[in-house]
Symmetry: C2
Amino acid sequence: MQRIAVDMDEVIADALGELLARYNRRQKTSFTKQDLQGKWLWQVLPPGGQKLIEGYLQSDDFFEDLPIIPGSQEILQRISQRYEVYIATAAMAFPNSFAAKYRWLRRHFPFLSSHNFVFCGDKSILHADYLIDDMPYNLASFRGEGILFTSPHNIGVSGYRRADTWQDIAKIFL
Amino acid sequence: MQRIAVDMDEVIADALGELLARYNRRQKTSFTKQDLQGKWLWQVLPPGGQKLIEGYLQSDDFFEDLPIIPGSQEILQRISQRYEVYIATAAMAFPNSFAAKYRWLRRHFPFLSSHNFVFCGDKSILHADYLIDDMPYNLASFRGEGILFTSPHNIGVSGYRRADTWQDIAKIFL
């Protein structure tokens, strides 16, 4: 059985959406993902914005409350009947996030075994056939085939097979 | 550069020693590792012992206080100058342990980057040349070369290159 590793943030968990929502609420702004095409969040925020964002990311509950990327549950459930699915998240940058990420996965993806969760720093350590990830540098160090999941920051990146939505992922694997 | 993945419990962290110490203190017994040759801890404890042990493992602080397996710090530091060293621990069985394991590694192995920590369930996901582990089933599913680190429970196991101590590990890699 072939094995697919799936990133969490921006692939199944909408961390960017939650960051924007928290930032907009606090600062009474109205930034949207459309404002971020080809850019990282901190490139569009005014001075001081980056510090707020980092505070959200380091908080205990942030990763517990994330919205789900549309389609990821249904399609991953179907994919998991034909492939070994692993969830691989770069959690080491946010040591406070481990427990919250674990609970989020158990709650929203109960059909996946927690034995298939991987909290790592560097995705070159993954032994899998495919990696679905929004970060080009994760795909660059991965040994199998990388699939770039579209996120505002990677709009201009080429060189990888790309999926804009989970429907695109379904077309590849189902 | 070749890559070595190193298990935590019973390889660099003396979880068994700490379990015995806590159990003996509480039950006023004097079990030692010598009593466990070829057996798992729960095979030698009286009825009810297993439940105590599981309670220790699930507690928040257990993995924070573990003694260090002798030689692992010095030898791993020397090895890390010649190899990429990853720490790979099966943390998913104990979701409360993530943060404590992270802090333990940062405190006792500060020369390793946290980018090289992997908290997983199933070690077949590791892409590395070597895995040093006390669990035969972890070595069985690993794709590279497994090295069985001696622990009382695996005394009778054959079929793997074996290291009784970190000095044996040094002989292999240095």
